[in-house]
Amino acid sequence: MFSNFLKELKNAPFAAQLGVFIIIVYLIAAIFAPLIAPYAETEIIGDVWEEMSSKSWLGTDQIGRDLFTRLIYGARNTISIAFVTTILSFFIGICGGFMAAVIGGWIDQGMSRFVDIMMSIPILIFALMILSVLGTSTPVLIGVIAVLDSTRVYRLSRAVAMDVVVMDFVEAAKLRGENTWYLMSREVLPNTLAPLVAEFGLRFCFVFLFISSLSFLGLGIQPPTADWGSMVRENSGAITFGILTPLVPAAAIAILTIGVNLVVDWFLHKTAGIKDS
C-alpha cells in the first residue's frame, strides 16, 4: 500500500509532489511540535512585535511570544481541528444529500426544508447563539462548525447526485432492487466524486476562516492555545502600520491550502484518468 503510494508519487507531476511535500512538512511540525519549537507554547520571550532576529526567527506576536513557536504549535491545533471538522461535515452532508437525491419524495423535501432553515439563518448568528448556550470547548466548536458547514455540503452533494440519479444506470440499479446504501455508495458516489473532492479542498480551509471569524466575536479557540485563525485576528491591527506579523499565520494557512489542493487536483486528474481508460 505504502510502497504503491511511493511509486505513484514518483511518477506524479511536480505540483503533486510539492503538495505532498508541503503536507508532510506540516504534519511533522504538528506531530513533533514540542521538539521543534524553540520555546514553550505560551512563553513570553520579548517585547511586542519584535523584528525577526536570531533569537526569534519570525519575530514576536502581540504580547511578545515567539511567532515561530506559536506557528508550530498552531499547526498541531489547527490542522487536527480542521481535519476532524471537515471530515465530520462531509460525512453528514454527503449522507444527507445522497439520501435526499436517491430516495426523493418526502425525505428529500423534509431534509431540504430543514437545511433551508439552517442555511437561511446567518451562520455567524447561529454559531453565536449555539456557542453562547453550550460554551466554547473544542469538541463543541468542532461539532457546531461541522453541523453548520455540512448544510453547504448537503446542498452540493444533493445537486450533483440529482444529476446522476436520473441517469439510466441508476434507474437500472433501482429496478434491480438495490438498497439505498448500495445506490449511494456504488452508483452515486463514484460519479460525483470529482466535484465533492474539489469542494473538500476548499471547505477544509474555510474551517480556519470560520474559527477566525468566531474569534472576531470572542468565541474561537480558548487562549493561550495557538491557532492560525486567531493568530491572524489578534495581530491584524499591525498591518496598517506596515508590520508584517499577521501575514505569517495567513501565509501558513494559504500554503497548506495550496498544498492540499495540489494533491486534490492530482487526485482529480487520476480519477479522470481512470474513467478515461
Binding site: 511586542v48 511578545g64 491584524s236 491591527g237
Partner: protein, 529 residues
C-alpha cells in the same frame, strides 16, 4: 503631549506641589526645563469659528438610545452630554466642578440639603425657557418606582426635590454628601424640557451647543450649531458628523486618510506609531480609569485573605502595563483610587511582583495545588484576554496554577461578571473617593463586584461621607485605600490612559481626563485652527 496632560492635570488640581511635580516629571522622563515650561502653563490661541467636525467614535450600537435614562455607550453619551444637553454642574479640565446650568450652589452645614440657583434666560432648542420645572422633571425621570434608569442608584440618595421659585431648586438628601455637586455633573442628569419622555427623548431636545438634525443609532448623527447657545466662547463648529466606527483598525485608517478628524480608543499597541504620522496628534490622558480582576471574596477559596494576597503578589504589574498598555498607563495598587483623585494615598508602596511571597501566602492558605479558573473576555476591556494569559505565566513562576477561560463577548456583563467566581472588569472610575467606594466596594452595593465586606471599611466610608474637615477626610480615605489594597477582593493591576488621535488641524486647550474625548466635550471645547 501625553505626559504634559497628565502632569498638568495633577498640578492644576493641586494634587502635587511644584517640587513633587518636577520629581514626577523627571520620573516620567520629562526634562526639568520642559517641566518648568509646563509649570508655567501652555498658552493657547484664540478659538476660531466654523467648519464641519467629523468624529469617528467607538462605543456606538445600532440599538442605542439617547434617552437620558439609558445612554448605553460612548456614542450616545457624547451625543447627549457633549453636544445636545447641559447639566447643572460641569467638570472643568482640571477636574473641578464649575457652574453650568446652575449659576451657583450652596449646602447646609451637614451637607444634607443642597440649593442650586439656575441661570436665567437659557433657552431650549425649541425656544422654551429653562426653569426649575424642567430640572425637576429631568431628575425625576431617573427616580421613582417605575424608573428604568441606569442612574437610579445615583439619584437614590435624593430624598426630596423641590422648586423654591422659578429659578431655585433644592435637593434634600437622605444623608450628608460633601460631594453632591459632582453627582449633579453625571452625564445621565442632562436637563431636558418638562414632559419629555419615551420617544420624545430620541429627538435630542436640550439646551446644548448643537441641535440634532438626524441620528441613525450606531451609524451616524448630524448636528448643527445652536445659534442661540447661551454659553460664551463655546461650540465653535458649524456642524458635526458623528460616525460610529467599532473596529479600531478601521478608525485608525479613517483618521490616517483624513475621513475623520478625531478618533477615540486608539489601540495601545499601535499608539506610538500613530504619533509618528504627519498631521496627526496622538493624545493621551490619564484619569481614574482602571482595570480590575475581582473575585468572590465571600466564597472559598477566595474568602481566604492569604489566597487573595498570594494572587496579588503573583502578577507582574510592570510587565502588564508595559505589554498590554504598552506603557500607556500606571501600575495599580489593588484599590480603585487613582493618582488623579484628591486623596490618593501616596504613602502606600506599590505592590511588587514577588513569586516567593506569593508562594508563601498560598502555602499558608493551604491552596498550593488549587487550580484557579480565571474568566476573561475582551468585552471587559481590550486586552483582557492577553492580560489573563500573561497573568497565568507570571503566576506559574510562583507555582500557582491559573486556568484561563475565555467567555463570549456577547452578554459578558450579564452572565459572567459577578456571576463567575473570578472575572475581569473595568471601571471608568469616579471623581470622588466616596462615590467610587460606595458603588464598588460597600457591603451590599449593587456593583460590589468582589463581594467585599469589611466592618471597619464600611464604618470609615460612612464617616468620610459626611466629614467636611479636609485633614480628617484624608486620613479616612488613606486608611480605606490601605484596607482595600491589603485585604480587598480585587486584583487591580493597572490604571489605563485614554488614548485618542486627532487631526492636527484641530485646536484645543488643556484636555480633561474625567471622561474620554476631553470629558466628552470635544464638540463644545475644540475648534479648527
Amino acid at each position: 503631549m501625553s505626559t504634559k496632560n497628565e502632569l498638568e492635570y495633577l498640578l492644576k488640581s493641586g494634587k502635587v506641589s511644584r517640587r513633587d511635580f518636577i520629581g514626577r516629571a523627571a520620573a516620567l522622563g520629562v526634562s526639568a526645563t520642559m517641566a518648568s515650561t509646563l509649570f508655567a502653563g501652555s498658552a493657547s490661541a484664540a478659538p476660531k469659528k466654523g467648519g464641519r467636525l467629523r468624529l469617528g467614535i467607538a462605543g456606538g450600537s445600532t440599538t442605542e438610545s439617547i434617552d437620558t435614562a439609558t445612554l448605553p455607550g460612548f456614542m450616545a453619551q457624547q451625543l447627549s452630554f457633549g453636544q445636545l444637553r447641559n447639566c447643572l454642574v460641569e467638570i472643568d479640565a482640571n477636574g473641578k466642578p464649575v457652574p453650568e446650568l446652575a449659576e451657583s450652589w450652596s449646602s447646609s452645614a451637614d451637607a444634607k440639603s443642597w440649593t442650586f440657583k439656575l441661570r436665567k434666560g437659557v433657552e431650549f432648542h425649541n425656544g422654551k425657557t429653562m426653569t426649575a420645572e424642567d430640572v425637576i422633571h429631568s431628575i425625576n425621570h431617573h427616580r421613582g418606582k417605575d424608573s428604568k434608569s441606569a442612574a437610579k442608584s445615583l439619584v437614590a440618595a435624593i430624598d426630596e426635590l423641590k422648586a423654591d421659585d422659578k429659578y431655585t431648586v433644592t435637593f434634600n438628601l437622605k444623608e450628608g454628601s460633601a460631594d453632591f455637586p459632582f453627582v449633579a455633573s453625571d452625564y445621565h442628569l442632562g436637563i431636558v424640557p418638562v414632559g419629555t419622555t419615551g420617544k420624545d427623548m430620541e429627538k435630542g431636545m436640550g439646551t446644548g451647543g448643537y441641535i440634532l438634525e438626524s441620528h441613525e443609532p450606531g451609524v451616524r448623527a448630524f448636528t448643527k450649531r445652536n445659534p442661540n447657545y447661551w454659553k460664551e466662547g463655546r461650540a465653535h463648529f458649524d456642524e458635526i458628523e458623528t460616525i460610529g466606527i467599532e473596529d479600531s483598525t478601521a478608525r485608525t485608517n479613517a483618521l490616517k486618510t483624513g475621513q475623520i478628524d478625531f478618533m477615540n480608543r486608539a489601540e495601545s499597541k499601535t499608539f506610538h506609531l500613530l504619533g509618528r504620522l504627519a498631521g496627526i496628534e496622538a493624545i493621551k490622558t490619564t484619569g481614574t480609569k482602571h482595570y480590575t480582576i475581582p473575585m468572590h471574596s465571600d466564597q472559598a477559596p477566595y474568602n481566604n485573605v492569604d489566597a487573595r494576597l498570594a494572587l496579588k503578589y503573583a502578577i507582574d504589574r510592570e510587565a502588564v502595563v508595559k505589554t498590554i498598555l504598552r506603557g500607556h498607563g500606571l501600575v495599580g495598587n489593588d484599590h480603585p483610587i487613582a493618582p488623579s483623585n484628591q486623596y490618593f494615598n501616596t504613602d502606600l508602596p506599590v505592590r511588587e511582583y514577588d513569586p516567593e511571597k506569593a508562594k508563601f501566602h498560598m502555602k499558608k492558605a493551604g491552596l498550593s495545588d488549587h487550580k484557579f479558573r480565571l474568566h476573561t473576555s475582551d468585552a471587559a476591556f481590550g486586552g483582557a484576554v492577553d492580560t489573563a494569559v500573561l497573568y497565568k505565566e507570571h503566576a506559574a513562576k510562583a507555582g500557582i496554577n491559573i486556568e484561563v477561560v475565555q467567555e463570549p463577548k456577547d452578554g459578558y456583563w450579564d452572565n459572567v461578571w459577578m456571576k463567575k467566581e473570578w472575572t475581569f472588569s473595568f471601571w471608568s472610575g469616579r471623581p470622588t473617593e466616596d462615590w467610587m467606594f460606595t458603588i464598588g466596594y460597600a457591603e451590599g452595593g449593587a456593583w460590589n463586584e468582589s463581594f467585599f465586606s469589611h466592618e471597619r471599611f464600611n464604618m470609615l466610608m460612612k464617616a468620610g461621607r459626611a466629614e467636611l474637615d479636609d485633614t480628617k477626610r484624608r486620613a479616612i480615605y488613606y486608611e480605606m485605600q490601605e484596607i482595600c489594597s491589603n485585604e480587598g477582593g480585587s486584583v487591580i493591576p493597572m490604571y489605563a490612559s485614554d488614548l485618542a488621535g486627532a487631526s492636527s488641524k484641530l485646536g484645543h486647550d488643556k484636555i480633561a481626563a474625567n471622561w474620554e474625548g476631553d470629558g466628552m466635550k470635544i464638540a463644545e471645547r475644540w475648534w479648527f485652527k
